[in-house]
Amino acid sequence: MNRIRVLYRAVLLSGLVTLAGCPATQAPPAAPPGGSSIQPDAQGPSGIREATSPSDTPRGSLSEAQSGKLPIDAPTSPLKEVYFGYDRYDLDTEARATLKSNADWLKANVAVRVEVEGHCDERGTSEYNLALGAKRSQAVKDYLVTLGVAAARLSTISYGEELPVCREQNEDCWQKNRRARSVIVSGRPAS
């Protein structure tokens, strides 16, 4: 399976989902999902990144996510992120409430398949954080299953500390990075 393509689809789909899922009265999102990724290639954080053509790096690819171009918390996605304590993978009350609403949406959109990404903040070492991210994504998957979502619709992947959404060194930022994100990988949501 080509994950880059899958992620690409995910970003496109999250646009579809938004349009399908928004009540008519609600204002459309300010920018299309993936909007930040269709800007011309600016210099990356290191200043060395070269320009890429859309053909060799599709929008929403892992490459772009790593260079900080993927829409961060997909504000338009019906599936919200959940957050974790430092070096923890248990779900607190808020996370459970968020997942309850994610589960409700998933049960109403039975064709949708989701990949749950586990992420960590930058503190600590990369291998341990990969293992920690795996625990986080699995905790989310397990809880969604207990809420009635079919396990077969849910896959997991850990990105450890490798794809931070926030790059400052403070607790606010670290908290944003200690997250599990649910990405729609296939299936059209019910209209």
Binding site: S46, G124, Y128
Partner: protein, 439 residues
């Protein structure tokens, strides 16, 4: 069989020891001694051109500069600034009696490195000598032959020889560091010599690449990559440039390490969110599952005898270092101080383990006895210090530190002394792995 490209060159790089006296024993009785943290003052003269009299200053400078870099890096020597040198290296001799030791004792040199070279076509011959200035005699001399492009390698070899003369064990200057750098905006695999030369980017898949580990003969680098989706193990062959997937496991990996005999690999795989250690054969096939614990088990490192594996587990509630007997599976906890101890690397001599620990919210490099016990904190600078990897002689450690504001590779003695920055790139340099000795 290995390093096809370099073997041809190596065939012509022949060192001839042209002094047969047992100098090491003499040194200890002589005036030059290595004691504690005090560094020996050494002068490294530019090399004398012994060949055709046209300008080949580049080779002279390349060899001398490399020696200066290596000796300073070692932590045992302080190389005196070249501008203070009195004699003209092109007019004075390079053998005892053919130059004046007073020119060197005057400027405070205890040791002196002199040498000469001749370049004929592309054939380079170099002779190097180390002198004890106060005893006014030669400690060691060596002659090397190679190609014009071998000057740095020859200098590294003589630096290794100087270290051997003073400590009984050669230095590690003919080694490389594999590491992950995000200078391109993506985490790609790189290798570089210690002095920053020969830097090569081995991957450019624009995804995430992590955790290199050298095969014991130095030909392959095992690493983890997301390039096909889920993170899997790959082997980069430095001799051919071939990059192949290792194994066919369907679960995500969190990295692997070669066994010291090169016949096996220990790797972490995830199943239902839980990471455990597995033993693989050289082809990547699973031989045996090593841990079966509901907690995280990750980040393995082999003892040099290959009979034990240290790793990180959170089975006690926080990440700590454990060691397992590979044959029996018997496991004991090694680290007890602190609530976060990860990324162990077992010393080549087997006596110690270095690892990353958290103190007051920051990460630092520690060592402890391989049987467990009291931790020794090696770093205390601002910023975080992570992912230590021992040099093949166990006397230096390379690690990643954010002390400059961005992650770069640093090096230090295994005592924590002589901390120096190795890389100067603008992007994050992390996950260093020190190669074995490479010739």
């Amino acid at each position: 069989m290995l390093r096809k490209g370099t073997l041809i060159v190596l065939g012509s790089l022949v060192a001839v020891l042209f002094s047969t006296r047992p100098f090491y024993s003499q040194i200890n009785k002589g005036t030059i001694e290595l004691s504690g943290t005090q560094r020996v003052s050494v002068a490294v003269s530019l090399l004398k051109n012994l060949g055709l009299p046209d300008d080949k200053r580049r080779i002279s400078e390349s060899i001398a500069d490399t020696l200066v870099y290596d000796l300073n890096l070692s932590g045992w020597f302080r190389v005196l600034d070249r501008t203070a040198y009195i004699e003209n290296p092109q007019t004075s001799g390079i053998t005892a009696g053919s130059f004046d030791f007073k020119d060197w004792s005057t400027i405070g040199a205890e040791g002196l490195v002199k040498g000469g070279f001749a370049l004929q076509g592309d054939d380079l011959s170099v002779e190097m000598r180390l002198f004890d200035v106060f005893q006014a005699k030669q400690i060691v001399g060596k002659r090397y032959g190679g190609r014009g492009g071998d000057s740095r390698r020859i200098a590294h070899k003589f630096a290794d020889e100087i270290i051997a003369q003073f400590t009984g064990i050669p230095g590690v200057f003919n080694t490389r560091i594999a590491y992950i750098s995000s200078t391109s905006g993506f985490k790609e695999l790189f290798v570089s010599h210690l002095d920053g030369t020969g830097k090569q980017q081995l991957t450019s898949n624009r995804t995430i690449n992590l955790r290199p580990s050298w095969s014991p003969e130095g030909r392959f680098i095992l690493y983890t990559s997301y390039k096909e989706g889920l993170p899997a193990l790959y082997l980069y062959d430095l001799a051919t440039g071939r990059d192949t997937r290792l194994g066919t496991q369907r679960n995500s990996t969190m990295g692997g390490r070669w066994s010291p005999d090169g016949k096996q690999i220990v790797a972490t795989f995830e199943e239902n969110g839980n990471s455990d250690l597995y033993l693989l054969d050289r082809s990547g096939k699973t031989v045996r599952r090593l841990t079966e614990d509901p907690g995280i088990d990750v980040s393995p490192t082999w003892a040099p005898e290959g009979n034990r594996i240290a790793f990180v587990s959170d089975r006690s509630g926080s990440p700590q270092i454990y060691a397992m007997d590979v044959a029996t599976g018997k496991t004991q906890r090694l680290s007890y101080s602190g609530s976060y101890n990860t990324s162990p690397d077992w010393a080549p001599k087997g006596d110690k383990i270095t690892y990353t620990g958290r103190v007051a919210g920051r990460f630092h490099i520690f060592t402890m006895n391989a049987q467990g016990g009291e931790a020794q904190q090696l770093t205390s600078s601002a910023g975080d210090n992570e992912d230590p990897s021992f040099a093949p002689d166990g006397r230096m450690i390379v690690f990643s530190s954010s002390r400059t504001g961005r992650y770069q590779l640093h090096i230090m003695r295994d005592t924590g002394e002589n901390q120096q920055r190795l890389t100067a790139s603008g992007g994050g340099d992390t996950n260093p792995s020190w190669s074995p000795r490479l010739e």
